[in-house]
Symmetry: C2
Subunit: 410 residues, 2 copies
């Protein structure tokens, strides 16, 4: 018997289940693994043997893989668990590798973001250190697009499409009144401005919204912002501003009204850049102003996914399985862009040591000199990623997704 | 020459342009009017002769009517203008009726909400008083569904679909972590809870979210809320709460953190019910909590419109034109539900005096006795309204809508 187990971790995206679908689809072709297990709630499912037999799901649920591809968030659930180092906690590693032995696990696939790649690094190093042949392979996803090495990260394209479509629809909403108004749209992205940059894709032949874009990679200056907005209001009624939740002033202080606590990985929890700018416009410009927080739907609105994104996410899952078959371990799958016109990518992989715990920010030269827009290079990079619409079926007027009842045990 | 003019007013919906399309399509059949004009920014476009020749648009823009049907917000722009009574301001009425004479206007169609129907009432009464033969006809729309007389209001079904789909996708997002958590989703609806009630449509075979629903029609009791949430947390990890922005305590005080000013019609501007409940959960229950404000996309996310809604909105426009042809004035078009199974409606009309300035709230008997859910009668009423998906074309990954450049003049 040769089995494998897959887990998912980190924040949701609409494309993470497509990577899971990719592993499954590839095995349907090769039949390399006898049984594919899913670990519920990331690596923590392994500790409690809370697992799902995915091979059975494929057999029992008609169209399982196709539906999985378009189902948002994590079919296997997630965790926010930081694996300790083996020196600090050998027990945990013993537990994991005993599980692997018991279930005849040949390969472990971990689909996740930066923090999950840290787990892949630790587990693969540990496997090597004990002479285990279990392959440990990372499959990246993040709406933030801040993973190093890969051209872009699955999950980003769909979030970018959601952000751009929302910006376009919000722009239509703002154009209806013949009064001076400012609309601030706050977009996710703690340290990396990729998703906020993607708002620029909303621009078309008739609408130039967002008219201003501020990323966390550039120090935010309140006076410049006020002057940017005032200048635009001289010649147009509606000014739409896209702003990252993570904008900071030159001293590194967040531009926000609130900010409470940190998550398990020490990241500061943010909210309020939009509200803060709304207050600034009200005080210093005095026109009609509204702030809109593009909420968690930017990471879970699967009905508006990018087909390019889902397809690439699936390709990553397929590549991961083929790497396992070849005996590769301690790597992260990645995407290489071969060409922009026509757009094409291939999958590849890199040593997990070169991938984990590094953050990819927007390059300075892709931000306009004034710091209030992105450049044409950025647009060339972004454009292909949101193209295409997946086939989402609707039932009674709502998208049909896979049941996630197996996550409900308390 | 016999011409007509159409205007739109009030807040945007994704279905209001479908009513405009309905008038146009009906005239393409009957050719009753020689030229159809659009007044830019509601009735105020008439004052400044800021008008658009819609008949020319149909001729010059291929597929104009089809694209118009799915374009969000108002193609003709909006206004927040309260027409004075003729006794207070005869000049304004003179201006409007001089315009009608100059442009040989036979009929004026006003597509809008409660406040717009007030304008229809005043103009039609005035027309009668001066013996003018100009027909004044109201075509209702509002995402709030709070207009009296009609079974439901175009714009509501699409907003309801957006709210329900968002709730479902947010539910998927909340199910991934095996920790106790509460997610508060704040939904538009100042006085009427129809849209918040529609969140219940998100429930399906595997997901019962939203688990609690609070409407403004029932006094909100903080202790009951806390106890409702605590009870659910005993048996499930994730509790999703749908709450109207307009919830009030038994003394009529809004449950909100902020509340600033009033609009031109004296309505209090609200925000923060979701944030307020988030704080209450954090303080009194102490579990992970997040609030999500379903933002203005609930009224402008045309890519997720209800086809039933758009079709009915169009039918209303068609009916309005046929009423004008018959010489009817001082009326509001309405929808009559003929049957639930199979669902069918017909268009009708009512005297504008019976329609304007009245608000239709959710009937008490459609709210659960505990005040934290809606009843099966409500579900039967809601279900058909979100059914069907319009054909939205995409270009470069984004929905293709009509240009609204004609609204940009400053």
């Amino acid at each position: 018997m040769k089995n494998c187990i897959i887990a998912q971790s980190g924040g949701p995206t609409t494309a993470i289940n497509a990577s899971l679908a990719g592993v499954l689809v590839e095995n349907e072709e090769s039949h390399y693994f006898d049984t594919i297990y899913g670990s519920i709630n990331g690596v923590t499912g392994i500790f409690t043997e809370n697992i799902l037999n995915l091979s059975e799901k494929i057999q029992n649920i008609p169209g399982f893989i196709d539906k999985l591809k378009v189902t948002p968030a994590m079919y296997l659930g997630s965790c926010r668990y930081k694996l300790p180092s083996p020196e600090d906690d050998t027990d945990t590693y013993n537990k994991i590798f005993s599980f692997f032995e018991k279930y005849e696990i040949d390969s472990f696939f971990y689909i996740g973001g930066n923090d999950s790649m840290d787990t892949v690094l630790k587990l693969s190093d540990y496997a090597k250190s004990i002479g285990s042949s279990v392959k440990i392979i990372g499959i990246p996803k993040t709406i933030d697009n801040d993973l190093c090495g890969t051209d872009h990260t699955p999950g980003f394209g769909s979030a970018a499409k959601y952000v751009a479509a929302s910006l376009l629809e919000i722009a239509h909403d703002t154009y209806i009144y013949p009064v001076k108004s400012v609309t601030i749209v706050e977009i996710m992205g703690r340290d990396a401005g990729w998703l906020t940059a993607a708002s620029a894709l909303a621009r078309n032949e008739y609408s130039n919204a967002p008219h201003l874009i501020y990323l966390p990679e550039r120090a935010f200056d309140i006076d410049s912002f006020v002057s940017d907005v005032k200048k635009l209001l001289e010649t147009q009624n509606s000014v739409v501003v896209a702003v990252s939740e993570g904008i900071r002033d030159k001293d590194g202080n967040y531009i926000c009204n609130t900010g409470a606590g940190t998550d398990n990985f020490g990241h500061q929890q943010l909210s309020g850049a939009g509200k803060a700018l709304e207050g600034i416009v009200a005080d210093r410009i005095g026109v009609k102003v509204r702030s809109v927080e593009i909420n968690i739907l930017q990471r879970c609105a699967a009905h508006l996914s990018s087909l390019t994104d889902l397809d690439e996410s699936m390709m990553q899952g397929q590549k991961a399985l083929s790497l396992a078959v070849e005996g590769t371990s301690g790597v992260m799958v990645m995407l290489k862009r071969l060409s922009n016109n026509p757009y094409s990518v291939s999958t590849d992989y890199m040593d997990i040591h070169d991938a984990a715990n590094l953050v990819k920010n927007v390059p300075t030269e892709w931000i306009s000199p004034e710091g209030n827009d992105v450049t044409e290079e950025m647009m060339t990079y972004l454009r292909p990623l949101i193209v295409g619409e997946p086939t989402v079926t609707y039932k009674n007027g709502l998208p049909e997704y896979l049941s996630v009842e197996h996550l409900f045990a308390t």
